[in-house]
């Protein structure tokens, strides 16, 4: 399958008064046409900033330092604001975590939907109204005519998220970025929204980048998964590889630390020790090394290189894969392979 989006060596930093925060520190990945890619990680791992960088909706003091984002072969980094606007909403859309803060409270749902349609297409007002109704019924909102006249506060959280999805899909984008789309919702509503997203993805054939911290959501939805930690891509692979054969110690730790509802017997959880890394004081070596049980000397001193494991679709940047993996070819600025002995710290 062809790649619809190619991100290479993306670096985004926030220039805050207390120092430079390297929120995304060189991330590369591809999104295949019509597939679902999950980005998982804890708060502050850079998953949302990656998405915002793709769309260039970063707020100052954040900016893209380097790297390339190619959409259908077209380079997006460096495009003018005017040209980016043709991409945003038309080709790549985004929905956010909290539908209440992303909808304007003083305009009706219909108003906001029609505005989007008029802005992005050459429809007339009457056609836009028709299209808005169509979109609302597509996302499963009953009685769309009445809902059009309602304000966001009159809708429940699940309804608002449906409106957001309708708004994002108005122009039938080729990529939908969903940034924690169900985190603010209850499980039964979450199930509704995820089902809706899957159904629309099949129907419209779009690709989805699903950003979440919930491994359960990822397991149910995604073809491919990226795991991020402290602004770095630590592991990338097919969902089954990430869940069944994780190769990075952080991914392994995550899998061990979540309580499993499907297991009958009670097992003690194995947490990841320590606290999340301070992005202003990133360690010299692997960012995860201070919390890693299997850290070696080299982990504290050198940033790990990216290794391909079992062919070329599973990537992990962990020194532990030095023996079985092959060095990833496409990472910019990598060093030659170093001989290392297994030494525990």
């Amino acid at each position: 399958m062809e790649n619809i989006l190619e991100v290479k060596g993306l670096k985004t930093s926030f220039y805050t008064p207390s120092g430079v925060v390297p929120a995304v520190g060189g991330v590369s990945f591809q999104l295949k046409k019509g597939s679902v890619l999950g980005i998982v990680g804890e708060s502050g791992s850079g998953k949302s900033v990656t998405a915002y960088s793709i769309l260039q909706i970063l707020t100052p003091p954040g900016r893209i330092d380097s790297g390339s984002v190619k959409f259908n072969g077209q380079e997006l980094v460096g495009l003018s604001e005017k040209e980016m606007r043709k991409i945003r909403g038309n080709k790549i859309s985004i929905i956010f975590q909290d539908p209440m803060t992303s909808l304007n409270p003083v305009f009706t749902i219909g108003n906001q939907l029609i505005e989007t349609i008029l802005l992005h297409t050459s429809r007339t007002k009457v056609e836009a109204h028709k299209r808005a109704l169509e979109m609302l019924s597509m996302v499963g909102i009953n009685d769309p005519e009445r809902r059009m006249h309602q304000y966001p506060y009159e809708l429940s959280g699940g309804m608002r998220q449906r409106v957001m999805i309708a708004m994002a899909l108005v122009c039938e984008p080729e990529i939908l970025i969903a940034d924690e789309p169900t985190t603010a919702l209850d499980v039964t509503i979450q199930a509704q929204i995820l089902e809706l997203m899957t159904e629309l993805q099949h129907r419209l054939g779009m690709a989805i980048i699903l950003i979440t911290h919930d491994l359960g959501v990822v397991a149910g939805m995604c073809d491919e998964v990226i795991v991020m930690y402290a602004g770095h891509l630590v592991e990338r692979g097919a969902a089954s590889q990430i869940f069944y054969q994780p190769k990075h110690e952080y991914t392994k730790g995550l899998m061990r630390s979540i309580p499993r509802i499907e297991k009958d017997e009670k097992e003690r959880l194995i947490p990841i020790s320590g606290t999340p890394v301070d992005m202003l004081l990133l360690p010299k070596g692997c960012a995860f090394a201070p919390r890693c049980e299997r850290a070696m000397k080299i982990c504290l001193e050198e940033k790990p290189q990216e290794y391909w494991i079992n062919g070329y679709n599973h990537l992990a940047s962990c020194w532990r894969n030095v023996k079985e993996g092959t060095l990833a070819p496409e990472v910019p600025g990598k060093r030659p392979m170093i001989q290392l002995k297994e030494e525990s710290v």
Binding site: E42, S43, S156, G158, M159, D186, V187, T188, I189, Q190, A191, Q192, L194, E195, H213, D214, L215, G216, V217, V218, A219, G220, A239, S240, F243, Y244, G253, L254, M255, R256, S257, I258, P259, R260, I261, E262, D264, K266, R268, L269, I270, P271, I272, S273, T275, P276
Partner: protein, 326 residues
């Protein structure tokens, strides 16, 4: 099992007055006729979606609100304002959801942790107080040097540890944990859950564990009560509830939990509920769940089903579930 429960809640009701106009007001039935027992050393998990009244149950059984009706019996004594409540407030404590807003930013960690023993005057000398603070911080895996720092200097997980140390200060027997891990990252969640389990084993604590995350609740609880719109719809042992959920709401709730396993997630048959939770101001007649229930029959609208035991230790409030094996 003829053990007297440590805590008994009988017919607890908590209504709030909501003004709907200048001189009009209506009741919001946040908690409506909730009863349960918790044995000493056990953990009862309370689950439900937002707005179902689970937090209100915790707060009103602690008498943070004066319950509209019903009684709470702790260690054989009925709670009422006066000396019984005063001693209950020492013997029962709470851990809150948000470790950012539940710690006073102007107090040092030492003072935050010592507040319960200050309030209840549980020490003779300043030295004893400081020793106790050091002991408590040690208990939750922080160091005693951190007592002079302020809450903002700590990460979310560490703050929740401070909140737990504060709850343990007055040597309580019973702790209401209100969503103690939902604001934390996955890798930190497990640390706090393990710590709560260790403390329970070490200090013989009894928990009421309120959460919306069913996987977490299942992990930590012996028994689980499922709430919907202010009422308990099903209560059973943790294993029983997951193996054999009876109430249609419990069944759909369990099926909606995302399973972190791609193969199982694909096989999983979801029961997707239609629509949203009705407003607690306009609770449907009869069974509150009937408007979303896939198995509803006309009779469901007639009367509110009572929570009844259908098999030993397994109660459910649904008229369509026959009593078995009792």
């Amino acid at each position: 099992m003829t053990q007297t429960p440590l805590l008994q809640v009988k017919g607890l009701k908590q209504y709030f007055n909501i003004s709907t106009g200048l001189f009009r007001s209506t009741h919001l039935k946040a908690v409506d006729d909730v009863s349960f027992d918790i044995n000493a050393g056990d953990t009862l998990g309370l689950v439900g979606e937002s707005g179902c009244g689970k937090t209100t149950v915790g707060r009103s059984l602690m008498h943070l609100y004066l319950p509209t009706a019903g009684e709470v019996i702790f260690d054989g004594e009925k709670l009422a304002p006066g000396p019984v409540l005063d001693s209950f407030r020492r013997r029962a404590q709470m851990v809150f959801q948000d470790p950012y807003s539940s710690l006073n930013p102007r107090m040092t960690v030492g003072d935050i942790v010592a507040e319960p023993i200050d309030v209840h005057k549980l020490y003779q000398s300043k030295k004893e107080r400081n020793n106790r603070v050091a002991e408590l911080l040690d208990l939750v895996g922080l160091s005693s040097e951190q007592a002079t720092r302020y809450a903002h200097e700590f990460s979310g997980g560490q703050r929740q540890r401070i909140g737990i140390a504060r709850a343990l200060a007055s040597r309580p027997e019973f702790i209401v944990c209100d969503e103690p891990v939902s604001a934390l990252d996955v890798s930190i969640q497990a640390q706090v859950i393990n710590m709560l389990e260790d403390l329970q084993a070490r200090l013989g604590l009894t928990y009421l564990f309120i959460a919306h995350d069913l996987s977490v609740v299942k992990h930590i609880s012996n028994r689980i009560a499922v709430m919907y719109l202010g009422r308990i719809v099903e209560m059973a042992s943790s294993v029983d509830l997951h193996r054999n959920p009876l109430h249609p709401y419990t069944r759909s709730l369990l099926s909606a939990v995302p399973v972190p396993d791609p193969d199982k997630a694909r096989e999983l048959k979801r029961i997707i509920l239609k629509g949203d939770v009705p407003s607690p101001l306009k609770v449907p007649s009869g069974c509150a769940f009937r408007t979303r229930c896939p198995d509803a029959i006309p009779a469901c609208a007639d009367s509110c089903p009572l929570l009844r035991e259908v098999s030993p230790g397994h109660s459910v409030s649904c008229i369509r579930i026959p009593v078995t094996g009792a």
